[in-house]
């Protein structure tokens, strides 16, 4: 039975945020053993994803028009 979930609309920032969160969680669980280390890694990775993503966005801004 086919179920249609089409129609999810995300802004650029929402897409980036969800992507960064999901990848950070996966990397955190795969690369660290202790729960505290995992949480630290997830937060740090998420922070870097967002900072680098927004930074690259700003760098690209002058060339967007």
């Amino acid at each position: 039975m086919a179920m249609d979930v089409s129609g999810i609309r995300l802004s650029h920032f929402q897409a980036m945020l969800i992507f960064a969160l999901v990848i950070s969680v996966a990397f955190g669980f795969l690369s660290r053993r202790r729960p505290l280390d995992q949480v630290k890694y997830i937060l740090w990775s998420l922070f870097l994803f967002l900072v680098v993503g927004i930074g690259i966005g700003w760098l690209m801004y002058p060339f967007s028009r």
Binding site: M1, A2, M3, D4, V5, S6, G7, I8, R9, L10, H12, A15, I18, F19, V22, I23, V25, A26, G28, F29, L30, P35
Partner: protein
Amino acid sequence: MNETTHNEPGRNESGNNESGNNETTDNETRVERGAEETRHGSNRETMAFAIAVAGWLVPGLGHALLRMWGRAAACFLTVAVLVVLGAGMRGNVFTSRGGDAFDTLGYAADLGTGCFYFAARSLEAGGADVSHANGDYGTRFLATAGVLNLLAALHAFEAARGHKA
């Protein structure tokens, strides 16, 4: 360990030189032990390979078989979220009938999600729409889910082999 190896080196009870026999026995023991280790290692490799394949087919199953419950749940949920969002955003689910190398590469990445590949195709009843940014992001989400699952399967493989993971 053979009893003769506990005697005084080179002599048995009657005082005869047995160094040749002892060496032969030691060598045989070593060879047997080596063969056993090879057999054991081979079984382990086979089991690790089976776990990796299971992890690829069903995200998180490889880690679940190794009783790494947290990692299993994380793998399953992250891949599931990316696939549902990717299909929901009408990303491109590549098929084997792609015309160029990028299609083939996308197909390989999408296949990495294992059983979720078919879930993505059935979820996306309306077909892909990459004319908007959402569809393009959806394509990336689906490909990332596949590559992430392959990474998780590789991680389970290494853990099953006994390597630090």
